[in-house]
């Protein structure tokens, strides 16, 4: 018997409730003290197609999914066709007994079949839409998981619909649970068992970022819906009244970023969220924020491009774009969190950086990170640890004391000009998108003024550089080879390192989250101690490898790249490693 170490996969058509079932089961697992890594995969359509929700379960913390599946819950036949080859030895499929399934083929492959009259139970007890509830009940029964955890999630999910709906769903789940357990539990080796554990949250990258942002004082969010960033403006909008936010679903992404710039100019912590296509539209205004020294947070959740690309698929194809986007030269900060915890911290830290350095801060996420759920200890999501630093923002009292002649763009040693908000008689000023004088007047010609202002703006980056974080080292100090990754590669590479090191210290891993500005000297020094570097990225050209070489001179020895729209997994990395370290860099 294998206890608390398996992967479940729920698959169905869009509209069949794959996501809600997956999220519900994930919560039930977390409430039983289990760790999980959940990955939601969907197609760009409202009905039909094929979606799945994959949950890896363990009694130790998980940082990535695995390709192997132990129990496949098929809500439609295509789930079986697509995923039958992922089923591990001893694994099985749960499905409605009336589903058209090629039993002979599956049996020949040694896959265990667990047909259950899901629809019949649902219809007999309640209505047919409760078939998903039956499926979850059956899954829990076959794995002999404590029914109470499933019941508690059902209660929470249906409480708004009234006690009768709750009771009917509970009965449906119970019947399917009992049937699944009675008929198949003895024949299935993978079991789930409650573990005593501290309280844990189940959260994905998008929502972790939202929590970080609101606790970090974000008060204004303007955005235009674009997969996979949409859940950010949705979450913010549904929580706006509760947490004192103003959100604006704008007419386009240009308006979204401009509204955020306006709100920030007026003194409110403001952000926008989009994906690469929307960001492309925002680029000119990004430069405006740079030139007018307006603090701004932009979340860019990458998806497979270019153009509309593969809307629901993952890629890290926008790295160099983020560092260079917009005409001209201006300071910016780019953060690439790699886990849900890092999304939370980036969510509030970005606002501090934006206000301290009065510049745009880009948080670079991607589909995989945005949609990946993980269990995290509540204490690791320490809400009280959020620090707010508004930089050189002049207080009302300080502005009262000012005599005439406030200079919004005063030349200072740090390049940071004390910032006043519009609305006070002592600080009437113009924020100017043309090159300007210290007091904000147009100065499109004067070369000396130009040099002074360019240098002033870039001095801010020299200060910011001091607080940019060097990559975290995972694994032993010394190793045969070193993985280098950034952003969402964190989980899959970390798990890969763990597997490789089961037999000794083979590999370690440098994980980059603070991308720009890059503390070149410190990183060059770090890279000196490495032997053989393997770059891992979800793109086809090895953008980070190029970037690292440009700024540190260090060539990545080998690259493992993935650009089929699927997330990296430990299996993928290990396979590429075995065939010779991947593509030459």
């Amino acid at each position: 018997m294998i206890k608390n170490n398996m992967t479940l996969k729920i698959g169905g058509e869009a509209g069949q409730g794959v996501e809600s079932s997956g999220a519900g089961f994930a919560k039930a697992l977390a409430r039983g003290g289990l760790h999980l890594f959940g990955w939601q995969d969907y197609m760009s359509r409202i009905r039909g197609g094929h979606n799945f929700f994959q949950i890896k379960v363990s009694d130790r913390p998980l940082y990535s999914h695995s390709d192997e599946v132990h129990l496949l819950l098929a809500l439609h036949p295509e789930t079986i066709d697509r995923h039958k080859d992922e089923i591990a030895t001893g694994g099985g499929i749960v499905y409605d007994e009336n589903l058209n399934v090629d039993h002979d083929y599956l049996k020949e492959k040694g896959i265990k079949l667990f047909p259950i009259p899901l629809l019949k139970i649902a219809e007999e007890t309640g209505t047919k839409i409760m078939a998903n509830t039956a499926a979850l009940g059956a899954t829990a029964g076959i794995t002999e998981y404590d029914f109470e955890h499933i019941a508690s999630v059902i209660r929470d999910n249906f409480v708004k619909k009234g006690q009768e709906v709750v009771n009917t769903n509970l009965e449906v789940a119970r019947r399917a649970y009992d049937l699944g357990r009675e008929r198949y539990a003895a024949d299935f080796d993978f079991k789930l068992e409650t573990v005593k554990a501290p309280a844990r949250m189940v959260i994905n990258g998008n929502h972790a970022l939202c929590l970080g942002a609101v606790l970090g004082g974000c008060r204004f969010v303007s955005a235009y819906p674009m997969t996979p960033a949409t859940p950010i403006i949705e979450w913010m909008s549904t929580h706006a009244d509760r947490y004192g936010l103003v959100t604006k679903h704008s007419e386009d992404e240009i308006a979204a970023i401009c509204m955020a710039i306006g709100a920030s100019h007026a003194g409110v912590r403001a952000m926008t969220a989009t994906s690469g296509g929307g960001f492309s539209l925002m680029v000119e205004a990004l430069g405006l924020a740079g030139m007018t020294e307006t603090p701004l947070v932009v979340v860019e959740v990458q998806r497979a491009g270019p153009s509309t690309g593969m809307p629901t698929r993952t890629e890290q194809g926008d790295l160099l774009f983020m560092i260079h986007a917009s005409q001209g030269e201006f300071p910016r900060i780019v953060l690439a969190p790699g886990s849900v915890e890092e999304c939370f911290y980036a969510g509030w830290r970005a606002f501090n950086l934006a206000e301290k350095y009065q510049c745009p801060v880009i948080i670079l996420s991607d589909t995989f990170l945005a949609n990946s759920l993980r269990t995290v200890e509540c204490r690791d999501f320490n809400f009280k640890s959020v620090e707010l630093d508004r930089g050189e923002l002049l207080t009302e009292e300080a502005v009262d004391q000012l005599s005439e002649g406030y200079k919004r763009y005063a030349i200072t040693d740090t390049g940071i000009s004390p910032r006043a908000l519009p609305g006070h008689p002592n600080t009437v000023f113009v924020a100017c998108s043309d090159e300007h004088t210290q007091d904000g007047h147009f100065e499109d010609e004067d070369p000396d003024n130009r040099i002074q202002m360019v240098e002033k703006r870039f001095r801010k980056m020299e200060v910011a550089l001091k607080e940019m974080r060097t990559p975290t080292l995972y694994g032993p100090q010394e190793a045969e080879f070193t993985f280098v990754g950034w952003g969402s590669t964190y989980g899959p590479v970390r798990e890969t390192v763990d597997r490789l090191n089961e037999g000794g210290n083979k590999a370690n891993f440098l994980h980059f989250t603070d991308i720009w500005p890059l503390p070149e000297d410190k990183i060059s020094h770090l890279l000196e101690t490495t032997n053989h570097i393997i770059g891992v990225e979800s793109n086809s050209t090895g953008q980070f490898a190029k970037f690292l070489r440009t700024y540190t001179g260090r060539k990545i020895d080998h690259q493992i790249l993935r650009y089929d729209g699927q997330p990296l997994s430990p299996e993928y990395i290990l396979t590429k490693l075995q065939v010779g370290g991947g593509d030459h860099g």
């Binding site: 606790l215 204004f220 103003v246 007419e251 240009i254 306006g262 008689p425 113009v430 998108s433």
Partner: protein, 291 residues
Amino acid sequence: MANIKDYASPVRSTWCVGCGDYGILNSLKQALVKMDLEPHEVLIVTGIGCGSKLPDYMTVNGYTSLHGRPIPIAQGIHLANHDLKVIVVAGDGDTYGIGGNHFIHALRRNADITIIVQNNAVYGLTKGQYSPTSPKGFPTKTSPPPTGAIEPPVNPIALALAAGATFIARSFSGNPPHLTDMIVAAISHQGCALLDVLQPCVTFNRDHSYDFYRQRVYNVEEEGYDPSNREVAWEKSSEWGDRIPIGILYMVEGKPTYEDQVTTLKSGPLVKQGLRSWGESDYEALEAEFT
């Protein structure tokens, strides 16, 4: 009491002698003084073009932004601090061309900002190309003879009406008293106010000179026009030729602004609400959502 001198700027204008922008600048200052608004209580957002340098020629809070983008920036500012009088001043290219989408949506959502358009029917700063309001056949370097501009012009009044505007007015920069009154009316309006100002470009648009407009404009108010009647406004919106109507062409009062309907703003301007203080019950609620 606000004084016209408070709005004076040390910066010398780069506008041509006789530019219609002067009339708009002067009337805007007059209007703000008339409304007893101090420079710190006002924020002017402009786009790009000759006229968009206007905040530099006043002492006032300003944000000179990008071509086509002053309207969303103004909305962001106003959503964050609705104590400020937020006024967009931008050209016809800015507002009806590159920023046309923002124009339509600001009007339909009744954002509580004022949009003053310096409509000279030509691109001046880029030195004389036809604009969204240039008449059909208008000859410029990008619309050369013999055809001149092939497409008919945007009708800003009809466009605003169709978009659901609650205040639409037109004035003429060669009639400062009327322009001042219209600016006061536009700023005083609760909701999104469009003031289209006919403005000669003395360098690149000789067709639309001061004389051209003086001979044609008439004040609708003097003819007993009722701006509250939408049907009549539709008709009036297409009147252009020997007679060009100026004045308030459409106005509906009492319609809630966008800002009025945002729950969070009922507690006062967002910026004045400060950073939120978080309590145990908030932490518990956030945690509960994900456990």
